[in-house]
Chain length 451, copies 2
């Protein structure tokens, strides 16, 4: 029974709970059992209290039994990265500098999840300050490899079947990279689509919150809950947001056009990855056009992101890290020291450049539905001392464009390799539909091959 | 006839034009005649073409004659500061570096004015780059004195009866100060209420656009037209904006409470000004409570504004000023050089501080309807080589709070002295009502004294 339940997608589980085929308590117990059998090896959780998770599940069941209308995530457990505030669990931002920190209220996005009926299952491991220095989490596909970061625990918990859904954050490559390394779906929605209020602040320009799941429908399901205007995040906008789940279920009206993009850091891709993508692009035929983003125009984007991120992190974290003596990692201290040297004019120029990239790439989407590009430079690297290279995520984070990693390919040793699709600004629903088309197209191809 | 017409407020003129009591052509001709008689002395205009103004007025009359519905400013001439783009007049930003610059389209706020039926009469003098180095304008009350800056021509043209309305910009004290020196109403609306798209950019954090007029109703009339969401200005918000003119015409429900605020730069006020305000506060009795904003908490606001403004100006103007050799003033070059030295962390800290001041002062408005404080340190100073001290405007610009200067007092030599009211964020309508109450209260007092 438990074995079956942990394999459910969130959409399936929500349907069963809503119909009464399974209770939130049974489902949550199955996930707790899965944690019991595998968490010792994976180390995805920073804070987890099975009693507290079960209590919420029982409360959800009682609520349903009383005949109340149910939210779209009613009774479904969700993992929350430990740099996102929760009123019931500690939030320690992956650093002893925040040891025992207990926020008095939920982050805006956690409130939205609770309102939709979700069970806040536990807090997933983040790297130190959601930056590079790794936490304890291992890659469920190979325990000697990094799960990626900084949303290490969110990606690993979903990959290991301990949760159907988790949320994380990205300031450079912190959702897309661990999703790709762990072989799950991960999405960085458009900048400003999900409120960052109550989330550890690195950079107003670069910070994003997004979900992890094992199906594309699940990404749409939770995105419907997470998005929306919040007056406490000045970059969210009171626009109407489309229904994402309804969108991915619609038939795609036309065959999409994809730009297979090689950025100026393409040479970082390892041989297997480069070959796998060449092959993928080839197999998609006329749908795909090859596009090179040239060094003279796009080459400085990586430095621009670094200037913004280091200065913003020095601003937000310089004092607490400075007071912390040897508690913070040298990596973090060095980056903050670098940020202190950035001038305001360099910082402002980098932000202007980011806007120009967003505009330039916006024109691009007049011709293409999405950009197709690797999520990472290769499969999850060996070793647990680092979390891998975010270089293939930087341009899409700097520009705020929505990006999703799809677990479609395999690299060396059969390890997962993520296909990244990038869409036009605030057209996240269109990006999800394009992703759905690609998934469906490739599975038909596979079926055809098998037949 | 002309003499009478130029004395009309904009509200009166709009009413007469709308009813057909006077044509836009007649009214515009009267203003042109006034320009003919006084502009040589005052020098309020950078670009003015009477033929073009008259052609617009005739077009407005023809439009009315055809039975069309009329906008609230139909046929009413408005002056536009020469750092605000116009498609029909050059926009030279007060600098030879922009000589002959002809924008291909109107700034968003100019489009709004045209849509409301306004006649875009001419471009009013701005100081160099809307910063400190003065233009040619003189104070209509005393031609040997500065009109204030940077919106020198907008304030002077309205004070001299050449226009009923003009718009200007403020990044430190550039609306409130010239309004006070020239004895007219001037308003800096809440940050984000009026779009800055198409306006010379100094600083996203500090830039504001606002109106000048000879009556409070006129300020409300034009504000109704100027405000609103613009997707090209990321700080405007798609909120519903109240009808300001209807608001100022309502009876004030309760006697307002005012905080007579002395900031940490109070010692800059000259003796006459300090005495005039003590007397005003005294005469208002229990309505007013004296509040000191203390140095340890608020003292660094002036440095914070300077860090933000200098860095932002270095970012926006550093290149063009650098290329300009000796064309730019030393004042401007020095400020840009200062801005280049600001670090990103200092800049970001100053912006955080600004937000904290806004929050702190927001709590303040739970107890008071508005802050009552001098608009300037004294009357317009002698000489045309400088534009006076903006120190009494800085805190309200940094915080983005709405501020209005009311021509209620007289200082030395009978010259105008502005009373500044500052209101809660985005409660501009409430601020206008409080201002209306104060005007009405003081005029009743005067009547009582005369009786």
């Amino acid at each position: 029974m438990s074995e079956n339940l942990v394999e459910l997608t969130a959409t399936e589980a929500a349907g069963k709970i809503s119909r009464g085929d399974v209770s939130s308590e049974e489902y949550t117990k199955a996930l707790i059992a899965q944690v019991g059998s595998i968490e010792d090896k994976v180390g995805a959780f920073q804070h987890f209290d099975p009693e507290h998770a079960l209590a919420q599940a029982k409360e959800r069941d009682a609520y349903r039994a009383n005949g109340n209308a149910l939210g779209p995530l009613h009774g479904v457990p969700v993992g929350i990265k430990d740099c996102i505030d929760t009123s019931d669990y500690p939030t320690e931002n992956g650093s002893k500098l925040f040891e025992g920190r207990r926020p008095y209220k939920d982050a805006a996005v956690v409130t939205k999840l609770r309102t939709a009926g979700a069970v806040i299952f536990g807090k997933t491991v983040t790297t130190e300050f959601a930056f590079y220095h790794p936490g304890k989490t291992k890659n469920p596909h190979d325990l000697e490899r990094t799960p990626g970061g900084s949303s290490s625990g969110s990606a690993a918990s979903v990959a290991a079947g301990m949760l159907p859904l988790a949320i994380g954050t990205q300031t450079n490559g912190s959702i897309i990279r661990p999703a790709a390394y762990c072989g799950v779906f991960g999405m960085k929605p458009s900048h400003g689509l999900v409120s960052r209020s109550g989330v550890l602040s690195h950079s107003r320009t670069l910070d994003h919150v997004g979900p992890f799941a094992r199906s594309l429908d699940d990404i749409a399901l939770i995105l419907d809950v997470m998005t929306g205007y919040d007056e406490n995040d000045p970059d969210t906008k009171p626009y109407v947001v489309p229904n994402f789940l309804a969108g991915v279920k619609e038939k795609f009206p036309l065959t999409p056009r994809l730009a297979y993009v090689r950025t100026p850091v393409w040479n970082k891709a390892d041989k297997t990855t480069a070959e796998a993508f060449e092959e993928l692009a080839e197999s998609l035929g006329e749908i795909v056009q090859r596009v090179e983003l040239h060094e003279p125009i796009y080459g400085h984007a990586w430095d621009d992101l670094r200037a913004i991120m280091s200065a913003d992190m020095a601003h937000h974290h310089g004092k607490i890290v400075g007071r912390g003596g040897d508690v913070a990692s040298q990596t973090l201290k060095d980056f903050i020291a670098e940020g202190r040297k950035v001038t305001a004019t360099r910082y402002l120029e980098a932000i202007s450049q980011a806007k120009q990239f967003t505009t330039a790439l916006g024109d691009f989407f007049d011709q293409f539905d999405a950009i197709l590009t690797p999520a990472t430079t290769g499969v999850a690297p060996m070793g647990l001392g680092a979390t891998g290279d975010p270089a293939f995520c930087s341009l899409w984070t700097l520009t705020g464009l929505p990006a999703i990693s799809l677990p479609l390919l395999q690299g060396e040793n059969g390890l997962p390799l993520g296909v990244q699709l990038v869409g036009p600004m605030r057209r996240d629903a269109r990006l999800l539909r394009t992703a759905k088309w690609l998934l469906s197209h490739l599975s038909h191809d596979q079926e055809a091959e098998l037949a």
